[in-house]
Amino acid sequence: MLDTGNAPQTLGDLAREVRSKNAGPFWMTLEAFMPDAGSYRVAAALITAELISELYHVAPASLQIFRIPDLHVVKVSFPRPLAQGSLYDRDMHAGQHHVPLANTVVPGTSP
């Protein structure tokens, strides 16, 4: 299922797509689309409230996580730390906020 050779693999390497977007001006949502049941199980185990809280500096209690085996998708939603379009908001559509999640190394693949 997984290439557990020497190179560390990220969630983004395993996924068909990892994406992020606004869900209205006050929420952000992240999705990992996995290609099959095996990689979905890896993503479903990896993406926890603790991980998202650490990567995105948000309170675990504010997170909503949806694990959707039929679609091989894990979805996470949380309130935007900065409202869309405010002076210090640098990602109007939250379209690039998937990267910290995509860059997360899958355990067991590190050298």
């Binding site: 977007k21 979805k75 379009g85 405010s86």
Partner: protein, 459 residues
């Protein structure tokens, strides 16, 4: 008009594109009409592009592009004798946005000799009326929002209420061939006609949610339109581009798109529940959906959107390529902010906190900021300085003080002045008023139409 006394077997909805003015091939319309479209529905807006459009009351799309799309849609609606519904006119659904689209529609009808009855539905809200609703306890915050105060309402440049399907249905029942709605839920625009013709709310609302972004629910989102037929037991959906497919996965996955929760979605009159929905491939490009439900709410609510001025902005841009600076770019940025703050205090006598500045290091950590994990030394950095002040003159004055720093600021340890690469002359652009979304609230209403005003005209 067909006999409307008994519900038909099904209602066909043609959605030509996810956004009026985005364009679509003319074949999209011929294909949709040949499949038996009973209504054409198209969304004209969104909050997705930011608060500017609501705040300034201007459209994101251009008149030329909107006129081009409308000309095709009006001709189709007129020849097939089916209604055309446009939601969230002018991007944000302000009264100016509805009138802007209506003027384009009128001009096309005159030029092309079309005889159509046009309804305009206005959704803009007055702060004083909402203040009265607030004082009587009928305004509630949505998560993660805070309770509303009256001052926030009066700060708003524009406030709109998001209508459900009822005002649109009312306009069609009154004889409108074309309905130009102010701010409406994306789903209400597609759902209104099917609900009016007696289709069940569960499949209707779910279908409306799936088709609201056009081709987003297909295997190739760039191809545009989709067609859905709603019946008593569910709905079927297919793309209008013959080379594109809807698959059970592409349709089901659309419930993820820009939603907080993929299983439930609140509408003004209730909640769409799709956890029990089944997605079945009828052939290689058509999907059947059954099992969707709509749970009516005990209280009908209208969601508010409001944008307020946060200040006036000036943006400046410079490029840095010198590796010596780039190796210490965090230190340089810190020194920049400190120096600018001191100079603004000394020269303009403005205290820190009375103005704002965001220094963004594109190519280094601009996009993710503190979420960026140990970025490497970049090859070059685009420095963007965004200044916000209480008026444009002040924002410009601060930016002009910043100009020599963006051009020459050394590291604190250097004993000469470097020069950086300005991309343009001048290096700054005044942006005018900047806005922020400040409302995330709903109002309890007694009637779904009470906050909206309709005008009928014969174009």
């Amino acid at each position: 008009m067909p006999d409307q006394s008994a519900p038909p077997d099904g209602v066909g909805i043609l959605v030509p594109t996810g956004m009026l003015g985005a364009g679509f091939p003319p074949g999209t319309i011929t294909r949709g009409l040949s499949l038996g479209a009973d209504v054409i529905a198209v969304d004209g807006g969104s909050t997705d592009s930011g608060p500017h459009y609501l705040g300034a009351g201007v459209a994101k799309t251009t008149e030329r592009a909107v006129r081009r799309d409308l000309r095709l849609l009006l001709a189709a609606a007129s020849s097939a004798r089916i209604p055309l519904v446009v939601g969230s006119c002018g991007t944000s659904g302000t009264d100016s946005g509805v009138n802007w689209v209506a003027d384009i529609v009128t001009a096309i009808c005159v030029e092309d000799g079309l005889d159509l009855t046009v309804a305009k539905i206005f959704s803009e809200q007055r702060a004083d009326r909402l203040t009265a609703a607030l004082e009587s306890g009928r305004v509630h915050a949505l998560p993660p929002g805070e309770p509303l105060d009256a001052a926030t309402l009066t700060r708003c440049a524009h406030i709109v209420g998001m209508m459900g399907h009822e005002p649109i249905e009312q306009a069609m029942r009154a004889g409108a061939d074309v309905v130009l709605a102010g701010r409406a839920t994306d789903t209400a625009v597609s759902a209104a006609f099917a609900l009016m013709r007696g289709m069940p709310p569960g499949p209707t609302w779910h279908a409306a949610k799936i088709i609201e972004c056009g081709g987003q629910c297909t295997t190739d989102p760039r191809t545009g339109g989709v067609f859905a037929r709603i019946d008593q037991a569910g709905f079927t959906i297919e793309p209008l581009d013959p080379d594109t497919a809807c698959t059970p996965a592409s349709v089901a996955a659309h419930m993820l798109y820009e939603t907080v929760n993929p299983y439930t979605m609140r509408e003004p009159g209730g909640t769409i529940e799709v956890a029990g929905a089944r997605y079945i491939a009828l052939d290689e490009r058509t999907v059947r959906v059954e099992g969707s439900r709509f749970e009516p709410a005990s209280q009908y609510t209208v969601k508010l959107e409001g944008a307020a001025v946060t200040g006036y902005e000036t943006v400046s841009f410079a490029g840095i390529r010198d590796p010596q600076i780039l190796r210490s770019i965090d230190l340089w940025a810190e020194f920049f902010t400190k120096t600018l703050t001191e100079q603004v205090q000394a020269v303009l006598e403005l205290a820190a906190g009375s103005w704002g500045a965001d220094l963004r290091l594109y190519g280094y950590n601009a996009i993710l900021g503190e979420l960026e994990q140990a970025p490497a030394t970049p090859a070059e950095v685009g420095v963007m300085l965004l200044v916000s002040a209480e008026d444009q003159q002040t924002a410009t004055a601060i930016s002009k003080l910043a100009n020599p720093l963006l051009l020459h600021l050394p590291l604190p340890t250097m004993n000469y002045l470097p020069s950086f690469a300005f991309a343009t002359s001048p290096a700054h652009i005044d942006r005018g008023a900047a806005y922020e979304f400040v409302l995330n609230h709903v109002v309890d209403v007694d009637s779904p139409t009470e906050m909206f005003r309709m005008e009928m005209t014969n174009a």
